[in-house]
Amino acid sequence: MARIVGGITTSHIPAIGAAISKGLQNTAYWKPFFDGYAPVRRWLDAVEPDVAVVIYNDHGLSFFLDQIPTFAVGAATQYPNEDSGWGLETLPPVRGDLELSWHIIESLVADEFDITICQEMKVDHGFIVPMMTMWPDAKEWPITAVPVAVNTVQHPLPSAARCYKLGKAIGRAIESYPDDLSVVVFGTGGMSHQLQGERAGFINKPFDTMFMETLVENPEALTRLSNAELIREVGSEGIELIMWLAMRGAMTRGATLVHSHYHIPVSSTAAGVLVLENSAPALAGV
């Protein structure tokens, strides 16, 4: 049976990808941020996942505003990265896992999640920057992937509670897959940031800190936040944190914290990363 070994939530700020492409990880500006990812990479090296189920949002590469699915699941043999006008390097495509994709799709629809099915899906920085951050030196991506796109662009957006339930349904889908696969679930985006309006540059460290701690211990409490409350507390773009709840929903209730790191600022954003493991940590001292 497939098994979810753990989950990672991470910011997907485009500037992170640009810094990796330019080899800036050890500069004064970037080192405090990238230092927070060394333990994440050690954990990944130890668990060696086969597949990443990546819950992320598209910012205008695969989807335009003509047709916006609330939830979309990829069902392709590969997911290309392309120019989306943000000045980022185009990276190699990520290989898909068709059978797992269709298993998740069937399971989600049976579970009353009326998702959009995508046999072609491009992945932008929301997906690829976390992959770069996990495997910055990889010549080719060491995992296959199932992308799950959540609409965090065109309001109305799904609620935190709905995303948490989606995560639970994704968890049930993965754990019912008959093949022996080791799966890591990603939730990307956030933390607090606002890119638009006179409130641009809004960052809320106390709320982010509370969110990270509560996500591990008592995620249900966070599902009571409305999207209006989230916009107020983490900014209009920080609402991407609803995808962190989707990752948490896919984990077991008693999942343990392996690593947590928070850094302000990256570009205009508060950057956070969390690693959760579904059983006792495989590595001491990661």
Partner: protein, 122 residues
């Protein structure tokens, strides 16, 4: 026509990208989507006015493009992720765009971010 009121309308300095803004901004955002392709970015650079005309931007949107007024473009229905594609053509970074909308210098904006251990209100 009556657009629904929302509980997020009270958040200051924030233009949540809802149906009303999506409808108003559709030609502008559609133009920005075209900038995923380098040849379209080049065509825009060659003749901005013609390019804006081709996508049917309103006079106010065309004027805000011409004056590089990102805040005005947000108010006219531009989605910030799409406007980022346009801002890139203008050589404006995310921090430049933030500072411009907030009405402060980029250095002031960067200093504000560095100091944001506490929430910045307003």
């Amino acid at each position: 026509m009556t657009w629904d009121a929302h509980d997020y309308d009270a958040v200051p300095g924030t233009y949540v990208f809802n149906g009303r803004r999506a409808a108003m901004g559709y030609p502008l955002n559609r133009m920005c989507m075209s900038f995923n392709h380098a040849e379209n970015r080049e065509a825009f650079r060659q003749d901005e006015a013609v390019y804006c005309e081709k996508y049917g931007l309103s006079p106010a949107q065309r004027d805000a493009v011409h004056t590089r007024d990102i805040l005005r473009l947000v108010q006219l229905g531009g989605n910030i992720y799409y406007l980022a594609k346009l801002a890139g053509i203008f050589g404006l970074s995310v921090q430049d765009v933030g500072a411009q909308q907030r009405g402060i210098t980029v250095d002031e904006f960067k200093a504000m971010l560095e100091q944001s251990g506490e929430p910045i209100h307003g």
